[in-house]
Each structure stands twice: as C-alpha cells, then as structure tokens.
C-alpha cells in the first residue's frame, strides 16, 4: 500500500480505482507542450462536475489538485486526528474582528476537494436568493434565473444520487430525490420534536450518501465518520461520483499538483498554468483555464498571477477579486437527554428545519436553517472546553455522558461586505508562493441573525426535553464570495457563465462566484452551477465564441 501523500498516484497512464483496494483504472495523459482545451484547477464541488462534463462533451481536459488521490477503502482511518490529512492546513494569516478558523469546516486538499469530508447536506437555494437585492433588499442579485437553476439542481441531485425525503416541505415543487431519505437517528428525532413544538416544519435532510446500492457504492452503514472521510464509498463525493466518470470520458487528473501561477500571453489571454509536481515547477499549455480552488485559493491564485499586464492580479479590473468573502454562521445549542441518543450514529445532519429561510417575519436580512448534530468525541471535547471551559475531572464526567448528548447547529447567511477579503501576505509557503491573508468581521446584521437563531434553537431544544443546554456562539463554516458573478463588469469578476470579464479564456467555477451565500450549505449550488457552466461552454464552443 503506497502513501498517497508521498508521491503522485495518477501517473503513467493510470489513476487509482477508488472502488478497489490497490486497484487502478486507465487514464489518458496529455502532453504539457500541447495546449489542452481546458485546465481546471481544483477537483471539488465545482471542478469535479466541470471536468467530467467537459470531458464527456469531447473537450481535452486536465484537472489539477494540490492534494493526494485517495482510495477511501484503504486510506481512511476511523480516527478523527489521522483524518486531518483531508484538510487544507497550509499556512495562512487570519485577522479581522472575527478571524475565521481555517480547516475542516471550510477547506479540503484532496482529489474531490472538500466533498471528500463534507457533511453531504445537499440543499437548494430559496429561489428569491438569486435576486436578493431586488426581491429581499440586501446583498446582490445573481445573473442567474432560479428556474434554470432548478433544472440544474435536479441534474446535480441525479448525478449525486441524493437521498432525500419523498416530499420536501419548503420552496417550489422539485422532482423526487433519486434515493429515499436515510433513517433518522436519535439526534434527528429530537430536532423533529423540537420543531414540532415550535410549530415549524421539519424534514429528513437530503444527503449525498446513498440509502441503497448505487454502482459500486454500498449503501451507508451509518458509521458516523462522514466528516472525516467516508471509508465505504457510500458518500457521493466528487472523488467517487464524478471523477471516475471524468477519467472514463478521457480527462486527466494530476494529483499532488499545486498550481502557482496562471500565465498570460501577449494578447492578454491565458496560455497555461505553472504547477509544482514531483519536486519541480512545470508548465501546462491550455486554451482555457478554469479556477476552481474555492474562496481562499481561487483569489490567491488570481492575485499571485499578477504580471506586468495585469499588475493587480488576473480578472481584477473591478478590484473585486478577493473581496466580499463570506462565511456562514455555524452556532449551536447543545444539551443532554435523559435517554440515550447516540448522536454519533449515522450522518451528522439527518434532519433539518429550514423554517427561518422561508419565514420573513424577522428584523434582519438573510435566513438560516438548523440541523441535527453528531460530533465525534474529539470535536465534542473541543466544544466542551471552548464553550463551557470544562477541564479535568469536570470534562471527564461530562464526556462519560457522551451518548446522552444532543444538539442542533445552524447554517446561517452572512452578508457580503467588501472589507471581508482575501489578500496576499508577504510570507511565502512551502511552494514559495505568497500566502493568503484572510480578513473577516461580522456585521450587525450577521450578529442579529445569530442571536435570533440561538434563541429559537434554544427554545426548541428545551421544548423537546433537552436539559443542561448551552450555546456554542462562535463557530463558522462554509465560504463564498471573492470572485462574484454579476451582469456588470464593474461590479463583478465573472459573468453568468463563470467567464471572467477581463480575460475571455479564464473562468472561475466554485463557491467564489457566489454574490450572496444563502442560508443553506453551498455544495449543491456550486455543483449545479458547474453543470450549467459546462453546458454553456459547449454552447459557446459550438457558436465559435470560446
């Protein structure tokens, strides 16, 4: 068994078969000196579907990922600490009034990106959020129509075999989820009872892990290690669901390949990427470059690619690259039940209430949902020490009660603010690249939303019979923004097709393009937009407009 972190695996015409221990599948390889149609930097929720669909439509594609190419069956340990190998833990500087804690909640460094360890929550935006400036009075409008997005959400859900409820209680009608929702665990039932006591609707959460066999994926066995890498392949991560399709369609994946700079030519167009692999810098020529590195690494790469022609970084004539960074509020209310709950069994977020995403009777902008929780012991210890200050004997006593713990955690919308941003620090990392400085402060609206959510979550938990409740007040998770899409080159970085206004063969396709972030987990929206972008690229190519 080789070490996936020591040397690239996707070389010599083959790539790991994620479904077989020690297995390989054939992989097409492209020459560096000949320009491929597309280079895609990043293989996560945005890059994965895009690489796949571009390859399936006949384009030559090379997908780059700085992280390793895992075979979950042999590489993933049932160990919270060991699985830190999945996160992007390179050096960063975080500052601002509310510095973002970088790591497992908001990054991934592996083929498949953060979807390898995401919580699989696959939700659609509320339609109005695509026009939140015009319809709801905050943030910015997206240049996309929700009805078209509804279509692509459906495509993404089918591609990922989302297991969801037979009918979803919020928003416009949607097609039936491809697979049925999973059985709810004890924690999910407590959320349901709390929601019912509040008069809210609740639902089993649509999740990207299969409830019945799919291809070579077995159904979920409810180990509960989802956020530390699913070792059974039930989780429909990009690594399992899309990348194998991409390989079969003739795409090449380069693992342990860190792209450091995008090159532009005399005509101002991108000509290829400089990347570090197997101990040296290399250059891949390309006719198009797609950046899909998520809200930190995407602006970092665009800024690090500054040259004489583009001194402020690529695609940055608006000055907005790196700006309008958003995270999502991820506060929680925890407590204990008299009966055993065993909240670590199964996926962590088996039930949800989106009530406050759809109810506008509140005195702040944005929405939030909350979901059942099931932190594993080490994460739970950090919550107890961080939020309650427990230590020593007290901590030990509380941990003995682990199987009786229960809680709910929110995903809340934070508003875009130009001062929340990614810039470049002077320090450099192991590749010699300038590291990102991530500046973040919560606004008054963000704080009002969190206070509202904590109050409602607390009440619902108490009504459900939860005792000894306490609040975790400072957590955040998903990222968005930093290369927003829009309909005006002066106020956005890319257009509706994720194509940069400044450099027509440079694209951005990940959560960076979100003008607003909504009150739901972003991965499904990212993947839906990636599927749309692939279709748009094909249409543009057919018209000779690439």
């Amino acid at each position: 068994m080789s070490d996936p972190l020591a040397a690239p695996r996707a070389i010599q015409g083959r790539a790991p078969d994620v479904f077989r221990e020690g297995g390989w599948v054939e992989m097409r390889e492209f020459s560096e000196s000949e320009a491929v149609d597309f280079v895609v930097i990043g293989t996560g929720a945005g890059g994965g579907p895009l690489i796949t669909r571009l390859a399936e439509q006949g384009f030559s594609v090379v997908g780059f990922d700085a992280g390793p190419y895992f075979r979950p069956l042999e590489d993933f340990a049932s160990d919270e600490t060991a699985q830190n190998q999945l996160y992007w833990l390179d050096e960063r500087i975080v500052d601002g009034e509310n510095p973002i804690r970088m790591g497992g909640n908001n990054s991934g460094k592996a083929v498949g990106g953060s979807t390898v360890h995401f919580a699989m929550v696959s939700l659609r935006f509320r339609p109005e959020w695509f026009k939140s400036r015009s319809l709801l009075g905050y943030g910015a409008d997206w240049p996309l129509d929700w009805r078209e997005m509804w279509d692509y959400y459906g495509k993404a859900e089918r591609a990922l075999s989302i297991s969801g409820p037979v009918t979803y209680p919020w928003g416009p009608k949607r097609p039936r989820y491809p697979y049925r929702a999973h059985e709810m665990n004890g924690a999910a039932e407590v959320l349901a009872r709390g929601a019912e006591a509040m008069g809210y609707k609740w639902s089993p959460t649509p999740l990207a892990t299969v409830s019945a066999p799919r291809g070579d994926s077995p159904p979920c066995v409810y180990r509960g290690f989802c956020r530390f890498g699913c070792s059974t392949n039930a989780k429909q991560s990009q690594l399992v669901a899309f990348i194998p399709r991409a390989l079969a369609a003739g795409a090449e994946i380069r693992d342990l390949a860190m792209v450091g700079r995008i090159e532009t030519g005399a005509d101002g167009r991108a000509t290829g990427v400089h990347y570090f692999r197997e101990g040296r810098w290399r250059f891949q020529r390309a006719r198009n470059v797609v950046v899909a590195g998520y809200a930190i690494e995407t602006p970092r790469l665009l800024l690090n690619s500054a040259n004489d022609r583009y001194p402020d970084g690529l695609a940055n004539s608006s000055g907005l690259v790196g700006r309008n960074l958003m995270t999502q509020s991820n506060q929680a209310v925890y407590g204990s039940m008299k009966d055993e709950v065993r909240w670590n069994k199964g996926p962590p977020s088996l039930s949800i209430t989106e009530h406050w995403n759809y109810d506008d009777r509140k005195d702040f902008f944005g929405g939030y949902c909350w979901m059942a929780q099931g932190p594993l012991p080490i994460e739970w210890v950090t919550v107890l020490t961080g939020s309650l200050g427990l230590w020593g004997e007290q901590l030990r006593e509380r941990m003995k009660n682990y199987n009786h713990q229960v809680g709910v955690k929110m995903v809340g919308e934070m508003l875009p603010n130009e001062n929340n941003r990614v810039t470049l620090a002077d320090e450099t990392d192991q590749y010699g690249l300038r590291i990102p400085r991530i500046t973040y402060s919560w606004g008054d609206n963000d704080k009002a939303l969190v206070a509202h959510a904590l109050d409602k979550m607390q009440t619902s938990m108490e009504l459900a019979g939860v005792r000894d409740t306490f609040q975790q007040v400072d957590d955040t998770n998903h990222l968005a923004g930093t290369a927003r899409m829009g309909s005006d080159p002066r106020s956005s970085v890319v257009n509706a097709d994720c194509r940069s206004w400044d450099i027509p063969n440079l694209w951005v396709c990940d959560g960076s393009i979100f003008p607003t972030t909504g009150g739901v987990n972003p991965s499904l929206t990212i993947s839906a937009i990636a599927l749309r972008t692939a279709d748009r690229i094909k249409a543009l190519a057919d018209r000779g407009e690439l």
């Binding site: 078969d17 697979y179 799919r214």
Partner: protein, 334 residues
C-alpha cells in the same frame, strides 16, 4: 469502477441469476399442466386457449383433499418465510419487547401444522391444525396493531419516513395469510364425499381464489413500499410490483368468472409468480453482497441488507392460487 452500474462479481451474479430466471421460466412454461380428468391433451403453449368447450369432470373427493394439501403447502411456505424473516428482523430489533417472540412461535407452529397437513390425505378438519392456524391469523392482527403503535410514536406519525423505517406495517399480515390459507384448507377437508366443495356455503375454489388474490395484493403493497425505499435501484425490483398484481387480477377474474374451464394463462402466470418468490431471494442474496463488506460481513449485512426470506411469501400465495385454480377448473359450480 462503476458510478452508476455495479461491476465485477456483482454484475456477474446479477447476469447469472437473470439467465437462470429466464431458463426457469421457460422450463415452467413448457411443463405440461395437470390435465383435468376428461382432458388428457395438454398444451405446450399455455397462453393459447385450446379447449373452448367447458370440461365437465366428475366430482372427485380426492381432488378436494389434494387441493387442501396444496393449501397446507402454501400456508407452510409462507409460515417458513415469516419464521426466518421475523427471526432476523426482530433479532435486529433486539427483541426489545417480549411480544416480539410471538411471530416466531406462531410461525413455527403454523409450519409444523402445514407439514402435517401436507402429508395428511384424510378428509375432515384437524382440531390442532385448526387451532394453530387460527392463532396465526390472530398473531398477524395483533402484530399489525403493535406495528401501528410503533409507527404512531415516531415524530411525523404515518409519514413515508416512518413507513420505511419503523416496524413494517404490512409484515405481520403475512402470518395472518399463512393462518388464513391453513384455515381454508381445513374447511375444504370438511366437505362431505362427492359433493361440490364449499366454504361457508360458497364454492371453495372461488373463496380461496379471491382470498389469495387479495393476499397477493397486500404482499405487493409491502414489496412496493420497501422497494420504493430502495429507490428501485435495480430494474429487477419492479418485478414483484408488476407480475404478482397481474397474477392477482387473473386469479380474481377466474374466481369470479366461469368455473370448470381451463385457465392456462392464469396457471402459467401463477407459476411464474411462484418462481419469482425464489428468484427474489436470489436477488436479495446478491443485494446482501452489495452492502459494505458483502458476505464476509454477513452478521451485519444479513440484518441490514434486503430480507432474503421475504420474497417466498409470493411463492406461497402463488401455490395457494394454483390450488384454487385447480378447484375452479375441476368443479363447475354454475
């Protein structure tokens, strides 16, 4: 590497089983139907109605007992299915309620009574068998009550979620079906010599045919619910919600229609449904292999995978349907 279709041994096993099913179906289709007393010609093409003239066989008390024994066999098949299935499922539920042992006892007794009845060619109802079958019928009713209570306690009540994952609403009815078929068998045996067999004053073939038809539809509902839960991820999962309803309709039509006629299509379809019960177990064996760890992890996957003993319920009902069809064909009552 298969993102949408299984590969490797699983794909091979599905192909082999599908092939074996087709071969089994062909073998059944070619098998000569049991000829009524006055008609020794048999059709090799069972869906061709050859004999338009109503057959008028002599009243045959042996035929009545033979039908009764077939019903015992059908009741036993279902009882065996329930015994193993409830043992696995209630073990999975850790027998957290002591009453969960009841279906094991009841199904065991029903199985014993059925073995006894299948071997017994005497006329007249047997008291012990009658009691066992009545108890089985009751067990199913009480079990359904328990399962309804279990579902109603869950948040969401009678929602899809709870119908999928709480105690299965339709499962206890299977032991009732076993009891019902056995009970009908005993009533059949009670008919006096050389008279047209009746149950509660109605022609026996029609009563058994109708009840079996209803039982088939109930079982289809259960399979449909659980296969919906499995998202019909394998096209073969549509078989138990398409073939048995047609069998039930054909049998129901036969039970309500003109008696004393050959019904080759109905017979053929019922035989296929009987085959389907066993094939279903085969598919479920493959389904267990598709769970994490496959058969190496049998202790877990037998519990969590598709229930291997469940599909032969269809076999039991189809066998009962064939017994009813035999009575209908042999005894014109109009």
């Amino acid at each position: 590497m298969g993102t949408s279709k299984p590969t490797g041994d699983t794909a091979t096993a599905i192909a082999v089983l599908s092939g074996a099913t087709v071969l089994g179906g062909v073998a059944l289709a070619l098998r000569q139907p049991r000829a009524p007393a006055n008609d020794t010609r048999a059709s090799l093409l069972p869906w061709v109605e050859r004999s338009k003239a109503p057959a008028v066989p002599p009243l045959d008390s042996k035929a009545t007992v033979r039908a009764a024994r077939r019903l015992n066999r059908a009741a036993g098949t279902i009882a065996a299915s329930v015994l193993v299935d409830s043992a696995i499922e209630h073990y999975r539920g850790a027998f957290h309620n002591e009453a969960m042992v009841t279906p094991l006892i009841s199904a065991s007794l029903s199985l014993l009574a059925s073995v006894h009845g299948t071997a017994d060619d005497r006329r007249g109802a047997h008291v012990a068998r009658d009691l066992v079958y009545a108890a089985a019928g009751l067990t199913g009713l009480v079990g359904t009550g328990f399962h309804i209570y279990n579902i109603s306690r869950k948040p969401g009540g009678f929602s899809w979620q709870n119908l999928f994952y709480s105690a299965p609403l339709g499962a206890p009815a299977a032991i009732s079906l076993s009891g019902m078929l056995g009970f009908l068998s005993e009533r059949l045996r009670n008919n006096t010599t050389d008279s047209r067999p009746t149950i509660l004053g109605r022609p026996a073939g029609r009563v058994i045919g109708l009840m079996t038809s209803l039982g088939l539809m109930g079982t289809v509902g259960e399979a449909g619910l659980l296969h919906f839960r499995g998202a019909y991820h394998n096209p073969a999962m549509y078989l138990p919600v398409t073939m048995p309803p047609i069998a039930a309709a054909l049998l129901g039509a036969s039970a309500l229609g003109e008696a004393g006629r050959r019904k080759p299509l109905t017979r053929w379809w019922l035989r296929f449904t009987a085959l389907l019960g066993f094939v279903g177990s085969g598919f479920h064996i493959i389904g267990v292999a598709r769970n994490m760890g496959g058969w190496r992890n049998w202790k877990q996957n037998l519990l969590d995978g598709p229930p291997i003993p469940a599909p032969p319920s269809f076999t039991g009902l189809a066998l009962a349907g064939l017994a009813a069809l035999g009575l209908l064909e042999d005894h014109p009552d109009d």
